[in-house]
């Protein structure tokens, strides 16, 4: 058994748990950043180097900062007076536990049908570039359009509304 995987799994799960349990929102964001970093290291352990570095670059370098700016702009960094958990929190917990039970049962049941070990794939960035420009060029262009539309949409939605003529 590889000890590295267990250390990374503990780090990721601790980050995720801390993210949903901590009261202060900025601490939650930092904890979820630790979870992102743990996941990036798990990707590196799975020999998916490009995905791992892209995870660090995009999630830690952009999404975490986006969430932090949103926290600051909505003044959510102060502790709320009425508690952080919603009134119906028990329902949410039961649903999440149910989902985990179903997923866990499915994984454990199918352990014999799926190969549990495999050789290291020899994948270079060159192959990824060829794939992106060859077989996956249409999804690439569509994602580019999607990102443009999302950027423009986010800016328009969050912009200050100009005062109309009164």
């Amino acid at each position: 058994m590889n000890p590295v995987f267990y250390i990374l799994a503990v780090l990721t799960l601790a980050g995720g748990l801390a993210a949903i349990l901590l009261r202060s929102l900025v601490h939650s964001v930092l904890a979820v950043t630790a979870a992102f970093a743990g996941l990036a290291l798990v990707f590196l352990q799975l020999d998916a180097q490009f995905a791992g570095f892209a995870q660090i670059l995009i999630y830690i370098g952009a999404v975490a900062i986006l969430i932090v700016f949103a926290v600051l702009l909505t003044r959510s960094s102060e502790l709320p007076k009425s508690g952080v958990f919603s009134n119906t929190w028990i329902v949410g917990l039961v649903i999440a536990a149910g989902v985990f039970a179903v997923l866990g049962w499915a994984v454990l049941e199918s352990m014999s049908a799926v190969p549990q070990q495999a050789a290291v794939p020899a994948v270079t960035v060159h192959d990824i570039g060829n794939a992106l420009m060859g077989r996956y060029v249409l999804p690439l262009e569509i994602v580019a359009l999607l990102l443009t539309a999302a950027t423009i949409g986010a800016v328009i939605v969050a912009m200050h509304e100009k005062e109309g003529p009164k």
Partner: protein, 397 residues
């Protein structure tokens, strides 16, 4: 090509030979781990020593540009100033504000230092001398640069100080804007080389026509990309003229206002180390890394050329710091998004043109003309509503 066993080849590889000799004393099972550990120790010793040299260069250099001597009391001509700085930083009291968030306040400089040190692992310091030769080395370097932004925010927010928070927000906004320019200017090099691995990029520049090298800076698109890279590098490390986040005359010290003693020293070291690492990346991508400038100078060890180029890039940083006034936050963001980004995108197109036009003088002409025209056009567009006449000087009577 160098023949094995000659003095030049041995000097060139002297650190590799040293490492192999030391590791040879250990049993075979421990050798890979010992290799890695020795490499890490070498990085941790060499680059902070280089930082000490840069500190002296900066204090004396900026002093001379400002028509004063700079520190000259500690040692001959003030050369031992970093030792005095280190002692001062270590004996100062470490004050943490009462209302500050103690855990985040403590972790911010550590996270910054760790990510900055990690980025040194992929740099090819000499022939065969990169600590880790990763297939996507450049992506790793940029990812480590992106991870430093979060620690800047952590430092600013945890101090519970409005100046710190303001400085942190300005710093993060500036860093994410110029990160885009940094990435786009490195993509041109990746396009021509066809690889993200820094050792392959240096090897692609290690060829000579007559005696001149094939460095990417000697091409029109390379010059444009290098200039944008240096500007973006200065902005990424919050270095003057882009130092509004730590503007000493405006917001006290920005995001490291509430840090004193050793933690401030860590921020100081991390800022200079990130400057050194960006200069080193610029030297690797555009100035040919460890390759010699003229083909008959190949006998000089490769790591000497690398450090010489990094020193030249640092000198440019210091020179610009002493010369150019500070740029305002909105001018800074305007400059990145409205001027540099279109030029970076056009540079990508020009690089592709360069690659597909084949050898000859035609491609030099076309690419140079397109880049100069585009730069002049963007400049005119930016200046169209500003009426700036000739400078009038007023002297004290």
């Amino acid at each position: 090509m160098m023949h094995d066993g000659s003095l030049a080849a041995n000097l060139d590889q002297i650190f590799i030979l040293l490492r192999d000799w030391v590791v040879g004393f250990l049993p075979a099972v421990l050798r890979p781990a010992a290799d890695a550990v020795l490499g890490v120790i070498a990085i941790i010793c060499v680059f902070p020593a280089f930082f000490a040299v840069v500190v002296v260069l900066e204090r004396k250099g900026v002093g001379r540009i400002q028509n004063r001597y700079g520190p000259n009391r500690v040692g001959p001509y003030g050369l031992f100033q970093p030792i005095a700085d280190a002692i001062k930083a270590l004996i100062k009291e470490d004050i943490v504000p009462n209302r500050a968030d103690a855990v985040v306040h403590f972790m911010a400089p550590l996270v910054l230092l760790i990510t900055v040190f990690m980025s040194f692992a992929v740099l090819p310091v000499g022939r065969n001398m990169a600590l880790v030769d990763m297939d996507s080395g450049l992506l790793f370097f940029i990812a480590m640069g992106a991870a430093t932004e979060l620690s800047v925010f952590m430092a600013g927010w945890s101090s519970r100080n409005k100046y710190s928070l303001l400085g942190a927000i300005r710093a993060v906004a500036q860093m994410i804007s110029y990160e885009v320019i940094l990435l786009l200017s490195t993509v041109t090099v990746v396009m021509i080389t066809g690889s993200l691995s820094l050792t392959r990029i240096v090897e692609a520049q290690n060829h000579f026509t007559w005696i001149l090298p094939h460095w990417f800076i000697f091409t029109p698109w390379g010059v444009a990309a290098f200039v944008m890279f240096i500007i973006a590098g200065m902005a990424e490390t919050n270095r003057s003229p882009f130092d509004v986040p730590e503007g000493e005359s405006e917001i006290v010290a920005g995001y490291h206002t509430e840090y004193s003693g050793f933690k401030f020293a860590i921020f100081y070291i991390a800022e200079y180390l990130s400057m050194i690492s960006i200069s080193a990346l610029g030297a690797t991508l555009f100035l040919g890394g460890w390759s010699a400038p003229l083909s008959f100078l190949n006998w000089v060890p490769s790591w000497i050329w690398f450090f010489a180029k990094v020193l030249i890039a640092m000198f440019v940083f210091i020179w610009v710091r002493g010369t150019v006034p500070r740029i305002r936050q909105d001018q800074l963001m305007n400059f990145a998004w409205k001027f540099l980004l279109p030029i970076a995108l056009i540079d990508l197109v020009v690089t592709a043109l360069w690659h597909f036009m084949g050898e000859g003088w035609m491609r030099w002409m076309v690419t140079a003309v397109i880049l100069v025209a585009c730069w002049a056009l963007m400049g005119r567009l930016e200046m169209r509503n500003r009426h700036i006449g000739p400078r009038k000087y007023r002297y004290a009577e």
